[in-house]
C-alpha cells in the first residue's frame, strides 16, 4: 500500500499481492513475480524506479497481481533488505508467530 512508502527513497523494488491467494510477491528483473524478496529487481533513481513499477502493469491487467507499489530497499553484501519495519514483516511473516508465513518455509 502506497501510504507507507517513503517518497524520497531512491533504491526500490516492486511488490504486490497475488490475486488468487493474496501471497506477497516481488517483481523480478525478467518481469516475473517471485514469492521471495531475494529474487526482486532493484532499481536506483527516480526514473529507473518508475520504469520498474510500469513493468507491473501487464500482471495487473492479466489478473495475476493486485496493487503493485515501490518500496525502499538497501542491498548489503548482495542481500536485499527492506528499509521499513512494515516491509520486513511483510517479507517474513508475523513476528509473534514464527511458525507462519514465508519465514516458516525452509529454504
Amino acid at each position: 500500500m502506497a501510504q507507507h512508502t517513503n517518497k524520497r527513497a531512491t533504491t526500490q523494488s516492486v511488490t504486490a499481492n497475488r490475486l488468487i491467494d493474496g501471497e506477497v510477491v516481488y517483481l523480478t528483473a525478467s518481469g516475473e513475480w517471485s514469492d521471495w524478496l531475494k529474487d526482486a529487481a532493484v532499481a536506483d533513481g527516480k526514473e529507473a524506479c518508475a520504469a520498474l513499477l510500469d513493468q507491473a502493469a501487464p500482471a495487473v491487467a492479466a489478473q495475476h497481481i493486485v496493487d503493485p507499489y515501490l518500496f525502499e530497499v538497501s542491498v548489503e553484501d548482495g542481500v536485499i533488505i527492506p528499509a521499513s519495519v512494515r516491509e520486513k514483516i511483510r517479507m517474513a511473516g508475523p513476528t509473534i508467530r514464527l511458525d507462519l508465513g514465508k519465514q516458516a518455509v525452509s529454504a
Binding site: L19, D21, G22, Q63, I96
Partner: protein, 552 residues
C-alpha cells in the same frame, strides 16, 4: 438462539452464489480490482499484509456448538489452524485464498453463518451484551432487537454505499457491556408503555482519529417504531454525510458539525415522513416470532447455594481464583455466567486454535445449553452454567490453556492485529501486549491491582479501542521507528469517557516500565476499594504524568 427459516437460508445461499459469480468475473478479468473491492468487502474479504483476511459475522456474538465446530473446521481446512475473535464479536481468518472463499462461504451457510456486510461502507454486524438473557436487571434481551436490526440491515438496497462504515450496538439495560456510546448508533433498552420495551437512541459515537461519545438523539422510542427510526437516521446520514474526505465521513462528524439538536430535528422530520407510510412498523407477530428464539433455556430448579462449588473453591486455589475473576452472578438461582479468557500470558490476545475451538464448542454444548457468546473484549462467555458444574468446566478449560483467571485484570487486553498482520498499521501491537502480560504475569499481583483494562491499537484507526482503555496504548511510527503513546482514564461503559493522552510516546524498550510506573502511582494513591479507573477519576492525570516523565 435464532434459527434461520427457509427465507433466511435462501437469501444466504443466493448471496453465496452471487459472490461466487463476482469472484469468477474478477478472476476472468471482467471487473477490475477497483470495481471488485467494494463487492469483496461487502462479503468480508480484506487484503492485508501477508494475505487475504476473511471476517465472518457472528451476529451479536452468539454461536452454537455446531457453529463453533465449523469455525474450527474452516481454520483447519482453509487457513493455518487458528482464528482471531474481534472487538465486534466476529471472527477473522488471516490466510484464506480468494479462490477458496466461495467454498468457505458455502460451508458457513451450511451452519447458518455468513460473512455478509462485515466490511464495506454499509451497516455492519450488530453487536450486543454478552450477558444477554442472563444478567439480573435486564429490561429486555437485546439480541431480539439485534436480530430484528440485522435482518432489516441485510442487503438494504438504499444503504449499500454509505459515506462510510456503520456500526450499531444494543444494550439490554443501563449497565453497558456493549460500548453503545462509541457506536454510530447505540441503543439502550428502557421500559416503555404497557410493559413493552422502548429505546433510547444514541447517534454519532466512535473512536478512530476523532473519538466521540454519542449524544442521545431519540428518547423512549416505542418498540414498533424502532426500524422506522433507524431508517430515518440512516437516510439523513446517507444524504448528508461527507464524502469528500475519508477521515470525516462517519456519522459522528455530521452530528458534531450540525449539533445534536439539529440532528434530532432532521431525524424526526424524516421519521415522521417514513412513519406516515407505515411500511416499517414492526408487527407484534414478528417481534413475538423472534422473541421465541430467545426464551430462557430450560433451567433446572436449583438452590442458589452450591456446596459443590464452595468445596471445590476451598480445595483448589487456582479454581477459586478463576471463579473470583471470571464468574459473574446469574439471575437464575443456582446458575452462573462463566467467562473464558482468550488472553493467556504468552499467547496472542483473542486468538484460539482450531483444537481449542472444538473443545470450547463441546463444552458449550455440555455446560451452557449449546450456546456461547464472543465478547467485544475478545473473550468468550458461557452465559448459563450451573454452579455445580463450574469446577468440571474449568478443569476442562484449563487442560487446553483456556483457564486463565484474568478477566478484566491487567493482563486481559484488547489488542488489534497491528503491524504483524494489518496493512493499515503503523506499529506492532501484539508484542507489546505480550510483554506487558509477561511483566504482570504473577496472579497475586494481578489480583492486588484489580480491574485495569489495557487496550492497544497499532494505528490511529483505534481498532484496539485504545481511546476507551483505562490505560490506552497507541502505536505510532516516528521516522520509521515504532513508538507507543499512552492515554489514561478511558471507559467504554455507561460512564463513557475518552482517555487523556499523558505526554510524549515511549519506545518499545520503555513502554512496559511506563505501565509499571502507572500501576505504582495507582497503588500508592488508591483509597478504600477504588479500582484504577476510580482513582484516576479522583486524582486526574497529573500524578501519573509526573511519575512517567520524572526521568524521561
Amino acid at each position: 438462539m435464532y434459527r434461520y427459516d427457509e427465507f433466511d437460508t435462501q437469501l444466504v445461499s443466493e448471496r453465496v452464489a452471487q459472490f461466487t459469480g463476482q469472484v469468477a468475473r474478477r478472476l476472468a478479468g471482467e471487473i477490475t480490482e477497483d470495481q471488485f473491492k467494494p463487492l469483496r468487502l461487502m462479503n468480508g474479504v480484506y487484503l492485508q499484509l501477508h494475505a487475504y483476511m476473511l471476517r465472518v459475522a457472528v451476529p451479536y456474538g452468539t454461536l452454537s456448538g455446531k457453529q463453533m465446530h465449523m469455525l474450527a473446521h474452516i481454520a483447519r481446512t482453509y487457513d493455518k489452524g487458528y482464528g482471531h475473535f474481534t472487538t465486534r464479536q466476529n471472527i477473522q481468518y488471516n490466510w484464506p485464498a480468494l479462490k477458496d472463499i466461495p467454498a468457505i462461504l458455502k460451508d458457513l451457510a451450511s451452519v447458518e453463518m455468513h460473512a455478509i456486510q462485515t466490511s464495506g461502507n454499509c451497516i455492519r454486524n450488530v453487536t450486543s451484551d454478552q450477558y444477554a438473557g442472563a444478567a439480573a436487571g435486564e429490561i429486555d434481551d437485546p439480541r431480539i432487537w439485534s436480530e430484528i436490526i440485522r435482518q432489516w440491515s441485510t442487503f438494504h438496497p438504499e444503504f449499500t454505499y454509505l459515506p462510510r462504515k456503520f456500526k450499531i450496538a444494543v444494550a439490554g439495560m443501563h449497565e453497558d457491556r456493549a460500548a453503545i456510546r462509541f457506536h454510530d448508533i447505540g441503543i439502550e433498552i428502557v421500559p416503555g408503555k404497557d410493559g413493552k420495551p422502548a429505546f433510547d437512541i444514541y447517534v454519532g459515537g466512535g473512536q478512530g482519529r476523532t473519538p466521540m461519545i454519542a449524544p442521545q438523539i431519540g428518547t423512549a422510542i416505542p418498540a414498533d417504531d424502532l426500524i422506522t427510526y433507524l431508517e430515518a437516521t440512516l437516510r439523513v446520514y446517507n444524504m448528508n454525510g461527507r464524502r469528500d474526505n475519508l477521515y470525516k465521513s462517519r456519522i459522528k462528524i455530521l452530528v458534531h458539525a450540525i449539533g445534536a439538536d439539529e440532528m434530532r430535528r432532521q431525524v424526526e422530520e424524516e421519521f415522521t415522513r417514513v412513519k406516515e407510510k407505515g411500511a416499517l412498523a414492526l408487527p407484534d407477530a414478528e417481534i413475538a416470532r423472534i422473541r421465541a428464539y430467545f426464551m430462557p433455556p430450560a433451567y433446572e430448579t436449583l438452590d442458589d447455594n452450591s456446596p459443590a462449588l464452595d468445596k471445590a473453591m476451598a480445595d483448589n486455589k487456582a479454581f477459586a481464583n478463576w471463579v473470583k475473576t471470571n464468574v459473574s452472578a446469574h439471575k437464575q438461582a443456582g446458575y452462573a455466567i462463566a467467562n473464558i479468557s482468550l488472553k493467556p500470558v504468552g499467547g496472542v490476545a483473542g486468538d484460539a486454535s482450531a483444537d481449542q475451538m472444538d473443545v470450547i464448542a463441546d463444552l458449550a454444548t455440555a455446560y451452557s445449553f449449546d450456546e456461547m457468546r464472543i465478547t467485544h473484549e475478545q473473550n468468550i462467555t458461557f452465559a448459563h452454567v450451573k454452579k455445580d458444574d463450574l469446577f468440571a468446566l474449568w478443569q476442562k478449560l484449563d487442560e487446553v490453556g483456556l483457564g486463565t483467571s484474568n478477566l478484566a485484570l491487567i493482563t486481559d487486553h484488547i489488542v488489534c492485529p497491528g503491524l504483524d498482520y494489518c496493512a493499515l498499521a503503523n506499529a506492532r501491537s501484539i508484542p507489546i501486549s505480550q510483554q506487558i502480560a509477561e511483566r504482570f504475569a504473577d496472579l497475586d499481583r494481578q489480583h492486588n491491582i484489580g480491574e485495569l483494562k489495557i487496550k492497544i491499537s497499532g494505528c490511529i484507526n483505534a481498532c484496539g479501542h485504545h481511546h476507551v482503555g483505562h490505560i490506552g496504548i497507541l502505536g505510532v511510527d516516528k521516522k520509521g521507528t515504532e513508538f507507543y503513546q499512552i492515554s489514561l482514564g478511558g471507559s467504554a461503559d455507561e460512564k463513557a469517557s475518552v482517555g487523556d493522552i499523558v505526554g510524549p510516546a515511549f519506545t518499545e524498550e520503555e513502554i512496559v516500565d511506563a505501565i509499571e510506573n502507572i500501576v505504582e502511582t495507582y497503588l500508592a494513591t488508591r483509597q478504600a476499594d477504588e479500582r484504577f479507573i476510580d482513582t484516576y477519576r479522583r486524582i486526574g492525570k497529573e500524578p501519573f504524568k509526573e511519575k512517567l516523565y520524572a526521568t524521561h
